[in-house]
Symmetry: C3
Subunit: 168 residues, 3 copies
C-alpha cells in the first residue's frame, strides 16, 4: 500500500508548498490532481499562480468531483498530490452530490492504492460561528471530511506560518 499523507492548515499557511515538497520527495515525476475549477477571475488567478510555481516535474489531472476515480485511474508508481479536499467538497455540494458517500468511497479506496498520495485540506472551523446556515453546514462538513481522511491516512501534518507540525 502506498503511503498516504494529509496536510491541513489555515489559508496561506504554506500547505500547498509543503505538500509539493513532500510529494516530490516520494518520487518524480509526480501527478498533480487539481480539484479547483475556475468559476471566476479570482479563482482563475489563484490557480494560475499555483501552476506557475510548479515545474516540469509535474503532470496535471483535473478531478473536481470524481476524486476516487482519478486516484484509482492514476495509480501506478508516481506519487499523487490532491489539492485540495475543501474545494472538492465545495464542488460536490454545489452539484448536489452525496459528499458523505464520496468521502466513504475515498477512505475505502486508500488501503488499495499502490502509489503514494498526499492530500491538502483547509482548517475552516477556528473562527467565530458564521451567521448564515450554509456556511455553518459547510464548515461542519469540511471538519468531518478532514477527520475521516485523517483517520485513513498514515500521516497528518498541521501547517503554521509555512512550517509543518506532525500531528500523527
Amino acid at each position: 500500500m502506498g503511503k498516504s499523507i494529509l496536510i491541513t492548515g489555515g489559508v496561506r499557511s504554506g500547505k500547498s508548498r509543503e505538500a509539493e515538497r513532500m510529494t516530490l520527495a516520494l518520487g518524480q515525476p509526480a501527478i498533480y490532481i487539481a480539484t479547483a475549477e475556475a468559476h471566476d477571475d479570482e479563482m482563475a488567478d489563484r490557480i494560475a499562480r499555483h501552476q506557475a510555481r510548479r515545474g516540469p516535474e509535474w503532470h496535471t489531472i483535473g478531478a473536481p468531483l470524481d476524486l476516487a476515480g482519478a486516484l484509482r485511474d492514476s495509480d501506478g508508481t508516481a506519487p499523487r498530490l490532491v489539492d485540495c479536499l475543501t474545494l472538492w467538497l465545495t464542488n460536490l455540494m454545489l452539484s448536489g452530490r452525496d459528499w458523505e458517500a464520496e468521502t466513504r468511497r475515498l477512505t475505502a479506496l486508500l488501503p488499495e492504492l499502490r502509489a503514494p498520495v498526499v492530500f491538502v485540506t483547509n482548517e475552516v472551523g477556528a473562527g467565530i460561528v458564521p451567521e448564515n446556515k450554509l456556511a455553518r453546514d459547510f464548515r461542519d462538513a469540511a471538519g468531518l471530511v478532514n477527520q475521516q481522511i485523517a483517520a485513513a491516512c498514515d500521516e497528518l501534518w498541521f501547517c503554521v506560518a509555512g512550517h509543518p507540525m506532525k500531528v500523527k
Copy 2:
C-alpha cells in the same frame, strides 16, 4: 485532587469524541455535564446526535449556567465531562451574568475537586476579525475563558482533524 484536562480545537475537530474517550479512561460510569440548551432546531439536532453517540456508561446532567455548582454537587469518584465551555459562556452572556466572576469561581473550585474533570472548548479566534462588535467581544471573552481554564488544568490538548496534540 482529581485530574483536570482541557481539550480545545475548531468546530468538528473531534474534540467531543476525544474528550469522551479520555473521560471513560479515567473511570466508568462517567457523568456528562451538558451546557447546551436547545434554543432552536439546529441546536436540538446537534444535541440529539451527540447523545445518540454516547452509550449507557454515561449519566447526563444539565448545567447551562451554574457549572461550578454542578461540578461541586457531582463530586465523588466518577469522572465528569463538561461539554462545552463556549456554550456555557454564551449562556452566561445571554442571561446577563458576570462571566468573569463565574470563570474565577470555576478556577478556584478546581483544586478542591476529588473526582477528575475533562472540559471541552472551542477555538473561535483564528479567523478574520468579525464585523460586528458583539462577535468581537464574544471571541475575546472565549479566548480569556480558555486561557484561564487552561492555566488551572493539569493538561491541555489541541485537536486537529480528529487527532489530539498535547500542548501541556
Copy 3:
C-alpha cells in the same frame, strides 16, 4: 546576529503575554515597538489595557508603518518586542504602501540586527472564507507576511489557550 522569534496564534491566545515574557528573558530593560494606532475607542481601550500590564522595565516606541526603520534605529543591546505584524500590515494597506516590499525590507534587515527581536502576529486564516473580497485579500496577505517572517526567524511558536507550542 541577535536572536529572532515569531509568536503566532488566534486572538486572546496569550501571544502578547508570552512574547513579553520571552523578550524580558532576553534582556532588561526592553523596547516595546507598538504598531497600533488608536483609530477608535475600542482600539484605544485595547492599547491602554496592554500598556497597563507592562511595567517600568519597558521603553515604548511607536512604529505604525516604518517597522524596518524602527528596528534599525533601536538596534543596540536591548531586546525588542514588535506587537503586532497584523496591525502593521493593516496600517500599510490602509495607507496604500507596498506591503510586499516592506516585508522584504524587514526580512532582509533581520540578519543584520545585533539585538534580539520578538514579533507577535495573528492567525486569521482558519475560519470560513469571508464573503467580502477585501477581507479575503487581507487574510491572504497576512498569511504571506507570517510565512516570510517565520522563514527569516530563528524560532516560531504557536499559542493555544495561553500556552506556546514550539513549531521551529
